[in-house]
């Protein structure tokens, strides 16, 4: 077969060659998507990125924009508040993705071990994922209240003094993380549960015959076979968490005393409150570069783990 096609390439014109047909088909199929993206996504992104080299208040006519070259780029590097917002963002992303993955996986394992009411339980856990963020932020704002909030009332049953959830700068970021994890947990769980369900039972049977403990089965079978699911979940949630905005915007506005100031919130403030559009764009480009690097590293790490067919 290989020989035949190799022989063919010498005699057939290039447009009949398989490689050409494949390439042409691929590009033809990709064309509508790429054209659409060029108009509605790349175009606006490039138009925004051009702002990087200008000073523009995001409000006045563009003719008022002043060209500043690399001025914005160098200013970002020395901007302590911006760099500080990176620290908060990373803490947030690690807490949210870490606890989402760990708790979500644990719940999925638990739910995988029962046979009744799985659909009901799964749907119920998924419920918060669908509830609108604005309503949930309002609700959690009430639950986080110091004196009469739901959470502190429960804590008072076990004699824990009231926690200043959103007021104490040392814990505000974690309180928001708690709410976000709660809201996203069902998503993690549904995806992990689906991944677990797809692992053939025979693998576990074989391991049981070999006398492997539950712990060993988890490490030797579950986790390796769950790797693609994990990759998907982690890549997507890391990209999302590093761009966290709405819960911060609704609940704390970056406060108290900058404790929940995250990068995208600061970019938003810089653009729409400080009216420094060019500078905000530059900050966003820094964030973009960081996310890109982290994503590429994640994809590499997983590839070295033995899954070569992802990219």
């Amino acid at each position: 077969m290989a020989v035949a096609s190799a022989a063919q390439t010498h005699t057939t014109p290039f447009w009949r060659r398989r490689s050409f047909i494949q390439a042409a088909t691929g590009w033809l199929f990709a064309a509508p998507i790429l054209i659409y993206f060029t108009i509605f996504v790349f175009g606006p992104i490039l138009a925004s990125l051009a702002m990087m080299f200008f000073k523009w208040n995001g409000f006045g006519p563009l003719t008022q924009a002043e060209f500043v070259g690399l001025g914005n780029v160098t200013e970002v590097a020395g901007d302590e508040k911006f760099l500080g917002s990176f620290r908060n963002t990373f803490v947030y992303a690690i807490v949210v993705v870490g606890s989402g993955v760990i708790v979500g996986l644990m719940l999925a394992l638990v739910l995988n071990g029962v046979t009744k009411f799985v659909g009901f339980v799964r749907s119920t856990y998924y419920l918060p994922v669908m509830l609108p963020m604005t309503a949930m932020a309002l609700l959690w704002g009430l639950m986080f209240q110091v004196r009469y909030g739901f959470l502190n009332q429960i804590l008072s049953f076990v004699n824990i003094p009231p926690v200043r959830w959103l007021i104490n700068p040392d814990i505000a970021l974690y309180s928001i993380s708690l709410m976000v994890v709660w809201k996203g947990l069902g998503w993690y769980m549904v995806i992990f549960l689906a991944g677990l369900k797809a692992i053939p039972e025979e693998y576990y049977e074989a391991a049981r015959v070999d006398g492997a403990t539950g712990w060993q089965r988890f490490w030797k079978i579950t986790l390796p076979l769950l790797k693609p699911t994990l990759l998907f979940v982690i890549v997507v949630t890391v990209i999302g968490s590093l761009q966290v905005f709405s819960p911060i915007f609704i609940m704390t506005q970056g406060g108290p005393a900058n404790a929940t100031n995250v990068v995208v919130y600061w970019v938003y403030m810089t653009a729409f409150q400080f009216l420094r559009f060019g500078y905000a764009t530059t900050q966003a480009v820094y964030l973009f570069a960081v996310i890109l690097v982290i994503t590429v590293i994640q994809l590499r790490l997983f590839r070295e783990g033995g899954l070569t067919s992802y990219y």
Partner: protein
């Protein structure tokens, strides 16, 4: 491994003793199983309470008076179930009108995405062509730029296309999405190449393969796409505020946001509005959940 010890020890016993032993083991296993189930259900129920309480609170709050919502100490149940909150919310929000707008816009976006994303997933996941991986990475990278930064150029574009204050302005810019293509591409990797090769040998074009092989096999991922895209489009606020100026064309999130601004103290109306708003999403999820689990499984597992 040490695992076989039970087997060997059992086999050395007398037949009658062995039967007794087996029964004992079975009983022990059953006990452990029951204990395990108790533990598992304990965890599950605890989690359920944690997950459900805020939602239940929202539902209850939608039937309370304003005073009951902010009562001190906390009042969990309404003293009287005020269905009137819903009547009032429906009137104040022009609920049916904005609900209809939301339904039309979100359905258009969802259906379009189901086709465009499976198309994209097939193109980037199954077709082999030079430049594919680079182009995919470029698409993926657009997920990494905060959306509001491109708001103004996008608005100007849509205005130039004459789509302001119209449903098309809410739909056309969202016909496809990077996340959906990413998700579907993952799923496509799980469809065996042999199926496609066989169809190609039978004379199917790439388009034929998409229509006859890929689409039928993609039902599970379509369900996943449907719920994700629907949920996301249903919730979108900022773009709607930019595009829709006529109050009769508003979508639900705008109407709810407006309720928040106008009736800032009336939590009960906001809660009633929010409760009404999530019903369609829940219905969609319940209807599709079987497919969703399969879809996610298949997209996640096959590498």
């Amino acid at each position: 491994m040490s695992a076989t010890t039970t087997d060997t020890s059992v086999s050395t016993l007398e037949p009658t003793g062995r039967a007794r032993q087996l029964a004992a083991i079975r009983r022990l296993r059953a006990l452990r199983w029951i204990g395990g189930q108790f533990f598992l259900w304990g965890v599950i129920l605890l989690g359920l309470v944690f997950m459900v309480t805020p939602g239940v609170w929202m539902l209850l709050a939608s039937f309370k008076t304003q005073a009951e919502i902010s009562a001190i100490p906390l009042q969990f149940w309404p003293t009287q179930w005020r269905v009137n909150n819903y009547v009032e919310t429906i009137e104040v929000m022009k609920f049916w009108r904005v609900f209809g707008n939301s339904l039309i816009i979100t359905s258009c976006v969802t259906i379009a995405n189901i086709f465009t994303c499976t198309w994209g997933g097939y193109t980037f996941g199954k077709l082999r062509w030079p430049g594919r991986d680079i182009m995919f990475m470029v698409l993926l990278s657009t997920m990494m730029i905060p959306g509001f930064l491109t708001l103004i150029p996008r608005y100007v574009l849509v205005a130039k296309l004459g789509m302001l204050n119209s449903y098309s302005g809410m739909i056309i810019p969202f016909l496809t999405g990077t996340f959906g293509i990413f998700l579907t591409k993952q799923f496509m990797l799980g469809i065996p190449d042999e199926l496609i090769d066989a169809a190609t040998v039978d004379g199917s074009s790439a388009l034929g393969v998409y229509w006859r092989i890929i689409l039928p096999l993609s039902k599970p991922i379509m369900a996943v796409l449907a719920i994700f895209v629907f949920d996301w489009a249903w919730d979108d606020l900022l773009w709607g505020i930019m595009i829709l100026t006529d109050r009769l064309k508003w979508t639900l999130p705008i109407a709810i946001a407006n309720l928040r601004v106008q009736e800032s103290n009336q939590y009960e109306l906001q809660m009633a509005g929010s409760t009404l708003a999530i019903i369609p999403v829940i219905i969609l999820f319940l209807a599709l959940q079987r497919h969703i689990v399969r879809g996610v499984a298949l997209s996640g597992l096959k590498g």
